[in-house]
Point group: C2
Chain length 227, copies 2
DNA sequence: GGCGGTCAAGAGCGGTGCTCTCGATTTAGA
DNA sequence: TCTAAATCGAGAGCACCGCTCTTGACCGCC
């Protein structure tokens, strides 16, 4: 991350950035399927083959856009959870609403990370850190405010695997509670995906109200009393 | 749906069927993005432009494949729910497991209907009937076995919209309960999507156990006692 | 038996990802 | 400082895609 020394290195960093920005713009407006290296090159006034000097393939460009999307979602969630003194249900509500709001504001980016996987795409390990930021924040709330009644224990081998996952967290979360947190996470992603992907068209208009119901469900799942 | 009279009509129906079958095979093996009219034509030994006599565009072929996928999922769910005398949690478990099993067996078809929406695609109204078969079955179980404690009421305008949805169901379901059923549905789709789209790679291996946790959550959400 | 509708075939258009080569330019080392 | 190596943009080209148009052969109904 040191400043580029030579002029060529600086130019390279700048052009790389321009390519990513143009790609992000095209992704946001037309979706991942319409993201075209040739179109990016056209918009940037260079020839299509020149782009391959910066990204060896279209999928590599997609990878950086995926990491960007994960990070933007993580930023939004962490920014919404700005009061560590708030009650646990309130913090969960803020984080979950931030996820939904970000997804509605950036539908194509959300679809890129939580929708159908890109065909030949294999997530490099770098993406993992960015991918789990929201879940890590939720786990922190879980660790700081465990519910009064411990949820029913989970059976092996899931319990030991969840213990391994919990070890990577900054604060310990018992496996049974972590399982409930993951279930709440499943509910959150399911709610946002179904809404965003148009599965409530022609049936429910009050999407805000429906999401608040899902929020109540999430809080109930982890065992907090509604607040 | 009457039998085709002339030889030409019969040939047309047959070729249409062959195109759909080839498309389904390509979809199952390589995903929606790799579905190519030209490849289908190649495999069928005809020229690409000939396919356009049967499907005016690639998206039209995709539409029939989407309806097929919805119907196959509906068939699987209804076949699994074969004992009307079973307890409500058991019936929900069977239906939900059938959805997950079908999705794992046909990942690309599942992604086609519950993943990122196809870019320019607008679902025609015919798909709605096929799209809601699983939810309708779940709603039937809800109607036959309402939980002991009615869930917390939902606020307007969601309640009246859910009442409208309930009117289209064969058996009445109170809005508050229907909201809980939808939340459980969100959880189901979220669980299956996250698992199928690879979001548990490198973290949880016991996907069966994790899904059973989600099942417990669904039952808890609608208010049944676990069984 | 004609005649209108339907069909497969082919050529072609504009688009895509990606590869290769070829000069020009910049960097880094002797 | 001079030179060899690395990097760059440009262009041509390959194979593929969805889709359109035209042509000529075939079928089936009046």
């Amino acid at each position: 991350m040191s400043a580029p020394r030579t002029a060529r290195a600086r130019a390279r960093a700048e052009i790389t950035q321009e390519i990513v920005e143009t790609g992000r713009r095209q992704l946001a407006s037309d979706g991942a399927a319409a993201l075209s290296l040739r179109a990016i090159a056209r918009e940037l006034g260079m020839v299509s083959s020149a782009v391959y000097r910066y990204f060896p393939s279209r999928d590599d460009l997609l990878t950086t856009l995926i990491v960007e999307a994960y990070d933007a979602l993580g930023d939004a969630a962490e920014a919404a959870d700005d009061d560590p003194e708030a009650s646990a249900p309130t913090r969960l509500r803020r984080i979950a609403r931030a996820v939904r709001d970000w997804a509605r504001a950036h539908p194509h980016q959300y679809a890129l990370v939580y929708g159908s996987p890109v065909p030949g795409y294999r997530a490099p390990f770098d993406t993992v850190r960015a991918a789990v930021r929201v879940q890590a924040r939720l786990a922190e709330v879980l660790a700081l405010h465990p519910p009064e009644h411990e949820p029913a224990p989970v059976s092996e081998p899931l319990a030991s695997q969840l213990a391994t996952v919990a070890d990577r967290l900054p604060r310990p979360v018992p496996p049974a509670l972590l399982a409930r947190g993951m279930t709440a996470w499943n509910l959150l992603i399911g709610s946002v995906s179904l809404e965003l992907f148009g599965h409530y068209a022609n049936s429910v208009d009050d999407l805000d109200g429906l999401f608040e119901c899902a929020l109540d469900g999430m809080i109930e799942l982890v065992g907090w009393s509604p607040a």
